[in-house]
Symmetry: none
Subunit: 125 residues, 4 copies
DNA sequence: GTGGTCTAGACCACA
DNA sequence: GTGGTCTAGACCACT
Protein backbone atom coordinates (compact mmCIF):
# COMPACT_ATOMS: atom_id res chain seq x y z
CA UNK A 1 0.00 0.00 0.00
CA UNK A 2 2.80 2.44 0.87
CA UNK A 3 6.38 2.77 -0.09
CA UNK A 4 8.34 4.20 2.80
CA UNK A 5 12.00 5.04 2.62
CA UNK A 6 13.38 4.38 6.06
CA UNK A 7 16.76 5.66 4.93
CA UNK A 8 15.47 9.03 3.77
CA UNK A 9 16.33 12.13 5.77
CA UNK A 10 12.63 12.81 5.73
CA UNK A 11 11.10 11.35 8.88
CA UNK A 12 8.93 8.32 8.38
CA UNK A 13 5.94 9.95 10.01
CA UNK A 14 6.15 12.87 7.59
CA UNK A 15 6.29 10.51 4.65
CA UNK A 16 3.22 8.83 6.04
CA UNK A 17 1.43 12.16 6.40
CA UNK A 18 2.19 13.00 2.78
CA UNK A 19 1.07 9.62 1.45
CA UNK A 20 -2.16 9.66 3.41
CA UNK A 21 -2.86 13.24 2.40
CA UNK A 22 -2.53 12.18 -1.22
CA UNK A 23 -4.92 9.29 -0.73
CA UNK A 24 -7.46 11.62 0.85
CA UNK A 25 -7.03 14.39 -1.69
CA UNK A 26 -7.39 11.96 -4.57
CA UNK A 27 -10.47 10.52 -2.96
CA UNK A 28 -9.01 7.05 -2.66
CA UNK A 29 -9.98 7.35 0.97
CA UNK A 30 -13.49 8.81 0.99
CA UNK A 31 -15.27 11.00 3.52
CA UNK A 32 -15.70 9.32 6.89
CA UNK A 33 -13.97 6.20 5.65
CA UNK A 34 -12.00 4.41 8.34
CA UNK A 35 -8.25 4.47 8.09
CA UNK A 36 -6.30 1.38 9.05
CA UNK A 37 -5.92 1.20 12.82
CA UNK A 38 -2.67 2.39 14.32
CA UNK A 39 -1.57 -1.09 15.30
CA UNK A 40 -2.72 -2.66 12.07
CA UNK A 41 -0.80 -0.24 9.91
CA UNK A 42 2.21 -0.49 12.19
CA UNK A 43 2.32 -4.23 11.74
CA UNK A 44 1.73 -3.99 8.03
CA UNK A 45 4.60 -1.54 7.56
CA UNK A 46 6.75 -3.12 10.27
CA UNK A 47 6.98 0.23 11.95
CA UNK A 48 6.47 1.22 15.55
CA UNK A 49 2.86 2.09 16.40
CA UNK A 50 4.02 5.34 17.99
CA UNK A 51 5.28 6.51 14.63
CA UNK A 52 1.90 5.86 13.03
CA UNK A 53 0.25 7.70 15.91
CA UNK A 54 2.42 10.71 15.31
CA UNK A 55 1.43 10.75 11.66
CA UNK A 56 -2.27 10.41 12.49
CA UNK A 57 -1.95 13.18 15.06
CA UNK A 58 -0.41 15.48 12.52
CA UNK A 59 -3.10 14.68 9.98
CA UNK A 60 -5.72 15.43 12.59
CA UNK A 61 -4.26 18.80 13.47
CA UNK A 62 -4.04 19.59 9.75
CA UNK A 63 -7.74 18.88 9.47
CA UNK A 64 -7.54 15.85 7.21
CA UNK A 65 -8.75 13.19 9.59
CA UNK A 66 -10.48 12.86 12.93
CA UNK A 67 -9.84 10.21 15.55
CA UNK A 68 -12.18 8.66 18.06
CA UNK A 69 -11.03 6.74 21.09
CA UNK A 70 -12.10 3.18 20.89
CA UNK A 71 -13.44 3.53 17.35
CA UNK A 72 -10.64 4.47 14.99
CA UNK A 73 -9.49 7.27 12.68
CA UNK A 74 -11.58 8.59 9.83
CA UNK A 75 -11.34 10.93 6.85
CA UNK A 76 -12.59 14.39 7.75
CA UNK A 77 -15.30 15.67 5.39
CA UNK A 78 -13.86 18.78 3.75
CA UNK A 79 -16.80 21.15 4.10
CA UNK A 80 -16.42 21.10 7.84
CA UNK A 81 -12.70 21.68 8.02
CA UNK A 82 -12.48 24.85 5.92
CA UNK A 83 -8.79 25.03 6.57
CA UNK A 84 -7.57 28.60 6.26
CA UNK A 85 -4.00 28.01 7.34
CA UNK A 86 -3.46 25.14 4.97
CA UNK A 87 -4.91 27.22 2.16
CA UNK A 88 -2.50 30.05 2.79
CA UNK A 89 0.43 27.66 2.79
CA UNK A 90 -0.72 26.22 -0.52
CA UNK A 91 -1.13 29.68 -2.03
CA UNK A 92 2.39 30.67 -1.10
CA UNK A 93 3.82 27.45 -2.43
CA UNK A 94 1.92 27.88 -5.68
CA UNK A 95 3.39 31.33 -6.20
CA UNK A 96 6.88 30.02 -5.57
CA UNK A 97 6.39 27.11 -7.94
CA UNK A 98 4.85 29.22 -10.69
CA UNK A 99 7.87 31.50 -10.71
CA UNK A 100 10.18 28.52 -10.86
CA UNK A 101 8.22 26.79 -13.60
CA UNK A 102 8.19 29.90 -15.74
CA UNK A 103 11.89 30.39 -15.20
CA UNK A 104 12.56 26.84 -16.30
CA UNK A 105 10.75 27.59 -19.51
CA UNK A 106 7.20 26.43 -18.98
CA UNK A 107 4.57 28.60 -20.65
CA UNK A 108 1.36 29.71 -18.99
CA UNK A 109 -0.51 27.47 -21.38
CA UNK A 110 1.46 24.44 -20.32
CA UNK A 111 0.86 25.16 -16.68
CA UNK A 112 -2.83 25.73 -17.22
CA UNK A 113 -3.20 22.55 -19.21
CA UNK A 114 -1.55 20.73 -16.33
CA UNK A 115 -4.12 22.28 -14.03
CA UNK A 116 -7.03 21.20 -16.21
CA UNK A 117 -5.58 17.74 -16.44
CA UNK A 118 -5.50 17.46 -12.67
CA UNK A 119 -8.91 19.05 -12.28
CA UNK A 120 -10.39 16.55 -14.68
CA UNK A 121 -8.81 13.60 -12.93
CA UNK A 122 -9.98 14.60 -9.47
CA UNK A 123 -12.72 12.30 -8.33
CA UNK A 124 -15.47 14.39 -6.89
CA UNK A 125 -18.16 11.84 -6.15
CA UNK B 1 20.34 41.91 0.49
CA UNK B 2 18.87 38.91 2.26
CA UNK B 3 16.54 38.43 5.11
CA UNK B 4 17.34 35.13 6.69
CA UNK B 5 15.02 33.92 9.37
CA UNK B 6 17.22 32.41 12.02
CA UNK B 7 14.03 31.48 13.82
CA UNK B 8 12.70 29.31 11.05
CA UNK B 9 12.94 25.58 11.52
CA UNK B 10 14.28 25.41 7.98
CA UNK B 11 18.08 25.09 7.87
CA UNK B 12 19.77 28.34 6.95
CA UNK B 13 21.50 26.87 3.92
CA UNK B 14 18.13 25.81 2.50
CA UNK B 15 16.82 29.31 3.02
CA UNK B 16 19.84 30.62 1.19
CA UNK B 17 19.24 28.27 -1.72
CA UNK B 18 15.65 29.44 -1.94
CA UNK B 19 16.55 33.13 -1.76
CA UNK B 20 19.26 32.83 -4.38
CA UNK B 21 16.96 30.80 -6.60
CA UNK B 22 14.42 33.60 -6.34
CA UNK B 23 17.02 36.22 -7.26
CA UNK B 24 18.05 34.22 -10.30
CA UNK B 25 14.50 33.44 -11.32
CA UNK B 26 13.50 37.08 -11.05
CA UNK B 27 16.53 38.08 -13.04
CA UNK B 28 17.99 40.20 -10.25
CA UNK B 29 21.10 38.11 -10.72
CA UNK B 30 21.59 37.99 -14.51
CA UNK B 31 23.12 35.33 -16.71
CA UNK B 32 26.79 34.75 -16.03
CA UNK B 33 26.78 37.39 -13.32
CA UNK B 34 29.19 36.64 -10.51
CA UNK B 35 27.69 35.76 -7.17
CA UNK B 36 29.24 37.24 -4.04
CA UNK B 37 32.19 35.19 -2.85
CA UNK B 38 31.60 32.71 -0.09
CA UNK B 39 33.70 34.66 2.39
CA UNK B 40 32.16 37.97 1.46
CA UNK B 41 28.62 36.72 1.84
CA UNK B 42 29.51 34.91 5.02
CA UNK B 43 30.79 38.08 6.57
CA UNK B 44 27.87 40.13 5.33
CA UNK B 45 25.33 37.74 6.77
CA UNK B 46 27.42 36.90 9.82
CA UNK B 47 27.05 33.26 9.00
CA UNK B 48 29.50 30.40 8.87
CA UNK B 49 31.20 30.19 5.43
CA UNK B 50 30.54 26.45 5.39
CA UNK B 51 26.85 27.22 5.33
CA UNK B 52 27.25 29.43 2.27
CA UNK B 53 29.44 26.80 0.65
CA UNK B 54 26.75 24.19 1.18
CA UNK B 55 24.14 26.44 -0.41
CA UNK B 56 26.31 27.13 -3.44
CA UNK B 57 27.00 23.45 -3.92
CA UNK B 58 23.28 22.75 -3.81
CA UNK B 59 22.55 25.46 -6.36
CA UNK B 60 25.23 24.08 -8.63
CA UNK B 61 23.80 20.57 -8.54
CA UNK B 62 20.36 22.02 -9.28
CA UNK B 63 21.79 23.71 -12.36
CA UNK B 64 21.25 27.29 -11.28
CA UNK B 65 24.89 28.31 -11.01
CA UNK B 66 28.31 27.10 -12.11
CA UNK B 67 31.60 27.49 -10.30
CA UNK B 68 35.04 28.15 -11.67
CA UNK B 69 37.98 27.24 -9.48
CA UNK B 70 39.66 30.33 -8.18
CA UNK B 71 37.24 32.64 -9.96
CA UNK B 72 33.97 32.24 -8.15
CA UNK B 73 30.37 31.21 -8.80
CA UNK B 74 28.20 32.48 -11.65
CA UNK B 75 24.58 32.36 -12.74
CA UNK B 76 23.98 29.56 -15.19
CA UNK B 77 22.46 30.84 -18.46
CA UNK B 78 19.15 29.11 -18.62
CA UNK B 79 19.19 28.12 -22.31
CA UNK B 80 22.34 26.17 -21.71
CA UNK B 81 21.12 24.41 -18.62
CA UNK B 82 17.87 23.10 -20.08
CA UNK B 83 17.29 21.31 -16.88
CA UNK B 84 14.97 18.43 -17.70
CA UNK B 85 15.24 16.85 -14.29
CA UNK B 86 14.25 20.04 -12.49
CA UNK B 87 11.40 20.56 -14.92
CA UNK B 88 10.01 17.14 -14.26
CA UNK B 89 10.25 17.69 -10.52
CA UNK B 90 8.41 20.98 -10.87
CA UNK B 91 5.72 19.38 -13.02
CA UNK B 92 5.13 16.66 -10.47
CA UNK B 93 5.02 19.15 -7.65
CA UNK B 94 2.60 21.31 -9.58
CA UNK B 95 0.27 18.37 -10.07
CA UNK B 96 0.44 17.54 -6.39
CA UNK B 97 -0.23 21.12 -5.37
CA UNK B 98 -3.08 21.60 -7.84
CA UNK B 99 -4.84 18.57 -6.43
CA UNK B 100 -4.35 19.87 -2.91
CA UNK B 101 -5.50 23.39 -3.76
CA UNK B 102 -8.65 22.07 -5.42
CA UNK B 103 -9.30 19.76 -2.51
CA UNK B 104 -9.05 22.68 -0.10
CA UNK B 105 -11.63 24.54 -2.12
CA UNK B 106 -9.72 26.76 -4.54
CA UNK B 107 -11.34 27.18 -7.94
CA UNK B 108 -9.49 26.91 -11.24
CA UNK B 109 -10.05 30.62 -11.71
CA UNK B 110 -8.38 31.47 -8.45
CA UNK B 111 -5.39 29.33 -9.27
CA UNK B 112 -5.08 30.79 -12.74
CA UNK B 113 -5.30 34.35 -11.46
CA UNK B 114 -2.51 33.50 -9.06
CA UNK B 115 -0.49 32.30 -12.02
CA UNK B 116 -1.13 35.47 -14.02
CA UNK B 117 -0.21 37.55 -11.02
CA UNK B 118 3.13 35.80 -10.74
CA UNK B 119 3.69 35.88 -14.48
CA UNK B 120 3.08 39.60 -14.51
CA UNK B 121 5.51 40.27 -11.73
CA UNK B 122 8.27 38.21 -13.28
CA UNK B 123 11.07 40.35 -14.67
CA UNK B 124 11.97 39.08 -18.11
CA UNK B 125 14.98 41.23 -18.89
CA UNK C 1 -33.60 18.17 20.13
CA UNK C 2 -29.87 17.64 20.22
CA UNK C 3 -27.15 17.49 17.65
CA UNK C 4 -24.41 15.31 19.00
CA UNK C 5 -21.22 15.15 17.00
CA UNK C 6 -20.16 11.56 17.12
CA UNK C 7 -17.08 12.65 15.19
CA UNK C 8 -15.87 15.04 17.84
CA UNK C 9 -13.01 13.89 20.00
CA UNK C 10 -14.98 15.15 22.98
CA UNK C 11 -16.72 12.32 24.83
CA UNK C 12 -20.40 12.20 24.09
CA UNK C 13 -21.39 12.56 27.73
CA UNK C 14 -19.45 15.83 27.92
CA UNK C 15 -21.21 17.08 24.83
CA UNK C 16 -24.49 16.19 26.46
CA UNK C 17 -23.57 18.09 29.61
CA UNK C 18 -22.71 21.15 27.53
CA UNK C 19 -25.89 20.99 25.47
CA UNK C 20 -28.11 20.56 28.51
CA UNK C 21 -26.31 23.37 30.29
CA UNK C 22 -27.01 25.58 27.29
CA UNK C 23 -30.69 24.67 27.33
CA UNK C 24 -30.91 25.49 31.01
CA UNK C 25 -28.91 28.69 30.67
CA UNK C 26 -31.06 29.88 27.81
CA UNK C 27 -34.18 29.04 29.74
CA UNK C 28 -35.41 26.52 27.21
CA UNK C 29 -35.61 24.14 30.13
CA UNK C 30 -37.28 26.15 32.87
CA UNK C 31 -36.92 25.96 36.64
CA UNK C 32 -38.08 22.67 38.10
CA UNK C 33 -38.99 21.39 34.66
CA UNK C 34 -38.54 17.66 34.30
CA UNK C 35 -35.77 16.50 32.04
CA UNK C 36 -36.44 13.58 29.71
CA UNK C 37 -35.88 10.26 31.46
CA UNK C 38 -32.58 8.53 30.94
CA UNK C 39 -34.13 5.69 28.98
CA UNK C 40 -36.27 7.99 26.88
CA UNK C 41 -33.35 10.20 25.90
CA UNK C 42 -31.13 7.21 25.29
CA UNK C 43 -33.62 5.77 22.85
CA UNK C 44 -34.21 9.09 21.17
CA UNK C 45 -30.49 9.70 20.63
CA UNK C 46 -29.71 6.02 20.03
CA UNK C 47 -27.07 6.25 22.71
CA UNK C 48 -26.20 4.00 25.60
CA UNK C 49 -28.28 4.88 28.70
CA UNK C 50 -25.11 4.78 30.78
CA UNK C 51 -23.82 7.73 28.81
CA UNK C 52 -26.94 9.74 29.61
CA UNK C 53 -26.70 8.70 33.23
CA UNK C 54 -23.13 9.93 33.41
CA UNK C 55 -24.13 13.29 31.95
CA UNK C 56 -27.02 13.71 34.41
CA UNK C 57 -24.74 12.87 37.33
CA UNK C 58 -22.28 15.48 36.14
CA UNK C 59 -24.99 18.12 35.80
CA UNK C 60 -26.22 17.33 39.28
CA UNK C 61 -22.80 17.75 40.83
CA UNK C 62 -22.43 21.04 38.96
CA UNK C 63 -25.67 22.23 40.52
CA UNK C 64 -27.68 22.56 37.35
CA UNK C 65 -30.20 19.82 38.05
CA UNK C 66 -31.48 17.76 40.96
CA UNK C 67 -32.70 14.21 40.91
CA UNK C 68 -35.50 12.58 42.86
CA UNK C 69 -35.42 8.84 43.18
CA UNK C 70 -38.11 7.25 41.12
CA UNK C 71 -39.36 10.59 39.84
CA UNK C 72 -36.66 11.85 37.51
CA UNK C 73 -34.31 14.79 37.08
CA UNK C 74 -35.32 18.44 37.26
CA UNK C 75 -33.83 21.83 36.52
CA UNK C 76 -32.40 23.38 39.63
CA UNK C 77 -33.88 26.82 40.31
CA UNK C 78 -30.96 29.14 40.11
CA UNK C 79 -31.73 31.30 43.16
CA UNK C 80 -31.62 28.22 45.31
CA UNK C 81 -28.44 26.87 43.87
CA UNK C 82 -26.36 30.03 44.27
CA UNK C 83 -23.43 28.08 43.11
CA UNK C 84 -20.39 29.84 44.54
CA UNK C 85 -17.96 27.17 43.40
CA UNK C 86 -19.11 27.33 39.80
CA UNK C 87 -19.01 31.10 39.88
CA UNK C 88 -15.44 31.13 41.06
CA UNK C 89 -14.47 28.66 38.38
CA UNK C 90 -16.12 30.82 35.75
CA UNK C 91 -14.39 33.95 37.08
CA UNK C 92 -11.01 32.27 36.91
CA UNK C 93 -11.66 30.98 33.43
CA UNK C 94 -12.80 34.40 32.30
CA UNK C 95 -9.58 35.95 33.56
CA UNK C 96 -7.55 33.31 31.78
CA UNK C 97 -9.48 33.77 28.55
CA UNK C 98 -9.34 37.56 28.67
CA UNK C 99 -5.57 37.45 28.97
CA UNK C 100 -5.37 35.05 26.05
CA UNK C 101 -7.74 37.06 23.89
CA UNK C 102 -5.79 40.25 24.51
CA UNK C 103 -2.53 38.45 23.84
CA UNK C 104 -3.86 37.23 20.52
CA UNK C 105 -4.73 40.79 19.59
CA UNK C 106 -8.39 41.30 20.49
CA UNK C 107 -9.24 44.74 21.77
CA UNK C 108 -11.35 45.46 24.84
CA UNK C 109 -14.04 46.82 22.54
CA UNK C 110 -14.21 43.62 20.56
CA UNK C 111 -14.52 41.55 23.69
CA UNK C 112 -17.19 43.81 25.13
CA UNK C 113 -19.21 43.77 21.94
CA UNK C 114 -19.07 39.99 22.06
CA UNK C 115 -20.43 40.18 25.58
CA UNK C 116 -23.30 42.48 24.60
CA UNK C 117 -24.10 40.22 21.69
CA UNK C 118 -24.44 37.25 24.01
CA UNK C 119 -26.32 39.26 26.63
CA UNK C 120 -28.79 40.37 24.02
CA UNK C 121 -29.48 36.86 22.82
CA UNK C 122 -30.01 35.45 26.29
CA UNK C 123 -33.63 34.61 27.03
CA UNK C 124 -34.47 35.92 30.47
CA UNK C 125 -38.04 34.74 30.77
CA UNK D 1 8.34 26.38 38.70
CA UNK D 2 5.39 24.20 37.71
CA UNK D 3 2.84 22.24 39.57
CA UNK D 4 1.91 19.18 37.59
CA UNK D 5 -0.74 16.73 38.67
CA UNK D 6 0.39 13.34 37.43
CA UNK D 7 -2.83 11.82 38.73
CA UNK D 8 -5.11 14.11 36.79
CA UNK D 9 -7.05 12.73 33.83
CA UNK D 10 -5.62 15.63 31.92
CA UNK D 11 -2.44 14.46 30.18
CA UNK D 12 0.79 15.84 31.58
CA UNK D 13 1.79 17.31 28.25
CA UNK D 14 -1.46 19.24 28.02
CA UNK D 15 -0.96 20.60 31.50
CA UNK D 16 2.49 21.69 30.43
CA UNK D 17 1.10 23.38 27.33
CA UNK D 18 -1.39 25.29 29.46
CA UNK D 19 1.18 26.38 32.01
CA UNK D 20 3.66 27.53 29.41
CA UNK D 21 0.94 29.33 27.48
CA UNK D 22 0.11 31.24 30.64
CA UNK D 23 3.74 32.18 31.19
CA UNK D 24 3.98 33.46 27.64
CA UNK D 25 0.65 35.28 27.69
CA UNK D 26 1.50 36.96 30.96
CA UNK D 27 4.86 37.94 29.60
CA UNK D 28 6.79 36.05 32.24
CA UNK D 29 8.56 34.48 29.29
CA UNK D 30 9.35 37.33 26.91
CA UNK D 31 9.68 37.41 23.13
CA UNK D 32 12.52 35.27 21.86
CA UNK D 33 13.41 34.22 25.37
CA UNK D 34 14.78 30.71 25.59
CA UNK D 35 12.65 28.09 27.24
CA UNK D 36 14.29 25.46 29.41
CA UNK D 37 15.76 22.72 27.24
CA UNK D 38 13.75 19.55 26.83
CA UNK D 39 16.15 17.48 28.88
CA UNK D 40 16.63 20.13 31.52
CA UNK D 41 12.91 20.55 32.13
CA UNK D 42 12.45 16.79 32.03
CA UNK D 43 14.97 16.33 34.78
CA UNK D 44 13.61 19.21 36.80
CA UNK D 45 10.08 17.83 36.69
CA UNK D 46 11.19 14.19 36.83
CA UNK D 47 9.26 13.56 33.68
CA UNK D 48 10.26 11.77 30.51
CA UNK D 49 11.88 14.06 27.90
CA UNK D 50 9.49 12.77 25.25
CA UNK D 51 6.59 14.18 27.21
CA UNK D 52 8.21 17.62 27.29
CA UNK D 53 8.90 17.31 23.56
CA UNK D 54 5.26 16.62 22.91
CA UNK D 55 4.28 19.74 24.84
CA UNK D 56 6.82 21.89 23.00
CA UNK D 57 5.64 20.48 19.69
CA UNK D 58 2.09 21.38 20.48
CA UNK D 59 3.08 24.88 21.54
CA UNK D 60 4.98 25.28 18.31
CA UNK D 61 2.06 24.22 16.15
CA UNK D 62 -0.16 26.60 18.15
CA UNK D 63 2.24 29.39 17.27
CA UNK D 64 3.42 30.18 20.78
CA UNK D 65 7.03 29.05 20.44
CA UNK D 66 9.55 28.11 17.79
CA UNK D 67 12.25 25.49 18.08
CA UNK D 68 15.66 25.34 16.50
CA UNK D 69 17.70 22.18 16.22
CA UNK D 70 20.83 22.45 18.25
CA UNK D 71 19.86 25.79 19.74
CA UNK D 72 16.73 25.45 21.81
CA UNK D 73 13.10 26.54 21.97
CA UNK D 74 12.06 30.19 22.11
CA UNK D 75 8.98 32.34 22.61
CA UNK D 76 7.41 33.30 19.31
CA UNK D 77 6.93 37.08 18.91
CA UNK D 78 3.20 37.66 18.61
CA UNK D 79 3.11 40.03 15.65
CA UNK D 80 4.42 37.31 13.41
CA UNK D 81 2.08 34.57 14.47
CA UNK D 82 -1.24 36.31 13.80
CA UNK D 83 -3.03 33.19 14.78
CA UNK D 84 -6.49 33.11 13.19
CA UNK D 85 -7.47 29.65 14.32
CA UNK D 86 -6.58 30.26 17.93
CA UNK D 87 -8.53 33.51 17.85
CA UNK D 88 -11.64 31.79 16.59
CA UNK D 89 -11.39 29.19 19.31
CA UNK D 90 -11.06 31.92 21.92
CA UNK D 91 -14.07 33.79 20.53
CA UNK D 92 -16.26 30.73 20.72
CA UNK D 93 -15.14 29.95 24.24
CA UNK D 94 -15.78 33.53 25.30
CA UNK D 95 -19.34 33.36 24.03
CA UNK D 96 -19.93 30.12 25.87
CA UNK D 97 -18.48 31.51 29.09
CA UNK D 98 -20.37 34.78 28.90
CA UNK D 99 -23.67 32.92 28.68
CA UNK D 100 -22.71 30.78 31.64
CA UNK D 101 -21.48 33.72 33.72
CA UNK D 102 -24.70 35.65 33.12
CA UNK D 103 -26.77 32.61 33.98
CA UNK D 104 -24.91 32.21 37.25
CA UNK D 105 -25.82 35.77 38.10
CA UNK D 106 -22.88 37.87 37.04
CA UNK D 107 -23.82 41.27 35.63
CA UNK D 108 -22.31 42.79 32.53
CA UNK D 109 -20.62 45.36 34.74
CA UNK D 110 -18.94 42.68 36.81
CA UNK D 111 -17.67 40.91 33.74
CA UNK D 112 -16.41 44.11 32.20
CA UNK D 113 -14.62 45.13 35.37
CA UNK D 114 -12.96 41.72 35.35
CA UNK D 115 -11.83 42.44 31.82
CA UNK D 116 -10.40 45.84 32.73
CA UNK D 117 -8.64 44.29 35.69
CA UNK D 118 -6.94 41.76 33.46
CA UNK D 119 -6.18 44.32 30.78
CA UNK D 120 -4.52 46.54 33.34
CA UNK D 121 -2.43 43.76 34.78
CA UNK D 122 -1.18 42.55 31.41
CA UNK D 123 2.48 43.41 31.07
CA UNK D 124 3.04 44.96 27.70
CA UNK D 125 6.68 45.98 27.84
C1' DG E 1 24.44 20.25 24.08
C1' DT E 2 20.23 21.07 21.43
C1' DG E 3 15.76 19.54 19.26
C1' DG E 4 13.90 15.58 16.69
C1' DT E 5 12.94 10.76 15.48
C1' DC E 6 12.20 6.03 16.46
C1' DT E 7 11.64 1.70 19.07
C1' DA E 8 9.81 -1.41 22.62
C1' DG E 9 6.76 -2.08 25.76
C1' DA E 10 3.26 -0.78 29.44
C1' DC E 11 -1.05 1.12 30.81
C1' DC E 12 -5.50 3.81 30.48
C1' DA E 13 -10.12 5.32 28.74
C1' DC E 14 -13.72 4.58 25.72
C1' DA E 15 -16.98 1.54 23.11
C1' DG F 1 -10.46 -3.67 19.99
C1' DT F 2 -9.51 1.37 19.43
C1' DG F 3 -6.80 5.80 20.05
C1' DG F 4 -3.92 8.10 23.54
C1' DT F 5 -0.31 8.75 27.03
C1' DC F 6 3.99 7.80 29.16
C1' DT F 7 8.58 5.77 30.02
C1' DA F 8 13.28 4.26 28.98
C1' DG F 9 16.69 4.36 26.15
C1' DA F 10 19.08 4.84 21.49
C1' DC F 11 20.53 7.48 17.63
C1' DC F 12 20.75 11.51 14.33
C1' DA F 13 21.51 16.33 12.67
C1' DC F 14 22.79 20.79 13.62
C1' DT F 15 25.60 24.38 16.66
Amino acid sequence: MFELDTRSRKPIYEQLVEKLKQLIINNVLKEDEKLPSVRELAQQLTINPNTIQKAYRELESLGYIYSLKGKGSFVHPIEKSDNVEELNKVREELKRLFAEAIYLGMTEKEIESLLHEVKGGQKND
